[in-house]
């Protein structure tokens, strides 16, 4: 589908793009966006899901079988400019697609992947969510995360920067957490007590019931024995009386 351009044309195009206003640039991007053309049907794509807001197709350069690209129908170059409501809808659909992949492609997991910006690996100028079916031992190394222990002061400085911007007050959370911890442990104790009291009650009831049941419901054999015994005793007694 890609057309070859001469160097002269390239230079002219670059000059043109440089002089564009942001709106013009967006329109130009949209016009030249492969994914917008798939959405409008100008270029064929392997569609797996479509509604009024989003389209999902199979990736033609997949990391594995059933690799899905989910994109908004409107042209948004990067994630931060996608309206929140569209974003919310997209991730609900992504969940459904992930579920379908687990069920029907017998995947053992999925990796949901988004690249924001060229350094993060974003290739297309159209925001999209990758839904990548995963299998135990599939060895997609690029998607295996290697974590390392960070220095405490590094984490602390980043935390300060971010929380200052967000305006988050950790104090409240810590207090809340402590309260929760306390209530949790109290709950546990209450549960334990209840359980043990239940157990003792159960034991007592069992004892009573078993005693009762022995008295009231002797087995047939026992009954026979008793009858025999009683008959025996009675007969002896009677015999004794008779002298």
């Amino acid at each position: 589908m890609q057309q070859q351009m001469s160097e002269q044309d390239m230079a002219a195009l670059q000059e043109k793009i440089k002089n564009m206003s942001p709106e013009e640039l967006q329109a130009y991007q949209k016009q030249n966006c492969i994914f917008c053309q798939i959405i409008s049907g100008k270029i064929p794509g392997k569609k797996v899901y479509e509604d009024d807001k989003v389209l999902a197709i199979l990736d033609i350069n997949p990391a594995g079988k059933g690799h899905i690209l989910l994109m908004p129908k409107e042209h948004y170059a990067i994630m931060p400019i996608v309206p929140q409501e569209v974003l919310g809808h997209m991730f609900i659909i992504a969940k459904k697609l992930s579920n379908a992949v687990l069920k029907k492609l017998k995947a053992t997991g999925t990796t949901i992947f988004i690249a924001n910006g060229g350094v993060a690996g974003q290739r297309a100028q159209h925001f999209m969510i990758h839904i990548i079916p995963r299998y135990e031992g599939d060895e997609i190394e690029a998607l295996e995360f290697n974590t390392k222990k960070l220095k405490k002061q590094d984490i602390e400085s980043i935390k300060e920067k971010l929380t200052a911007k967000i305006g988050y007050k950790p104090g409240n959370a810590e207090i809340e957490a402590k309260v929760e911890e306390k209530t949790e442990s109290v709950k546990k104790e209450i549960k334990k007590e209840k359980k043990s009291s239940k157990k003792t009650v159960k034991k007592k009831v069992k004892k009573k019931v078993s005693k009762k049941s022995k008295k009231e419901e002797p087995s047939e054999e026992e009954l026979d024995k008793k009858i025999e015994e009683s008959e025996g005793i009675d007969l002896d007694a009677i015999a004794n009386l008779l002298g």
Binding site: K46, Y49, N61, P62, A63, G64, K65, G66, M79, P80, V82, L87, G88, M90, F91, I92, K95, L97, S98, N99, A100, K103, K104, L105, A107, T108, G109, T110, T111, I112, F113, I114, A115, N116, G117, G118, V119, A120, G121, Q122, R134, Y135, E136, A142, L143, E144, F145, T147, K149, L150, I155, I158, K161, L162, T163, K165, I166, Y168, A173, E184
Partner: protein, 176 residues
């Protein structure tokens, strides 16, 4: 859930609301790596209710944008490792990973090749998987309705039987 690493998160929290918590994990992919988790304990993506899904990714998007501004990075990756083999803690989480040029990370996978027929097959199966769910739901609802009906019927017959018994007792009482 007690004993769950993410349910018990109390340190290095950078954001929190009634549904989600965002924190800086001690073991990170890179400096500035943020984890966002729902407060409720859901094991995998499929278990997270739609409302929470919407919220957690909207928060993740905001935090991602914030990372651009605050940590002067050039990009971010937003990733969910769902199930085997990627997920390490059995509590659903979203990773926001700040990116700069030559940071040593590479999440670009090698493209695999599949035949046209294979792709068609994957597509059909996925579509089936999407449809199957709604059918299942309908089927479940039907079954539930049936169950409730049966239960109601049972209750009715029991009541009838009781009425009959009462009638017999009344009859007995009337006997001289």
């Amino acid at each position: 859930m007690t004993g769950c690493e993410y349910c018990d998160v109390k340190e290095k929290i950078i954001y929190e609301d009634d549904k989600v918590v965002a924190f800086l994990p001690a073991n990170a992919i890179i400096k500035g790596h943020i984890k966002i988790v729902p407060k409720e304990h859901y094991r995998i993506y499929e278990e997270v209710p739609d409302e929470t899904v919407t919220h957690i990714f909207q928060v993740s998007n905001k935090l991602s944008a914030l990372v651009f501004e605050t940590l002067s990075v050039q990009g971010t990756n937003i990733v969910v490792q769902n199930g085997i083999p990627g997920q390490e803690v059995p509590h659903f989480s979203v990773d926001v990973i700040p990116r700069v040029e030559s940071d040593g990370l590479n999440f670009v996978w090698e493209a695999q090749k599949f035949s046209e027929d294979e792709l068609q097959g994957f597509g059909l199966l996925i579509k089936e998987g999407l449809e199957g769910k709604s059918k299942d739901k309908k089927e479940n609802k039907k079954q539930e309705k049936k169950k409730v009906k049966d239960e109601l019927n049972d209750i009715e017959t029991i009541e009838q039987e009781e009425d009959e018994e009462n009638y017999l007792i009344k009859q007995l009482d009337r006997m001289p």
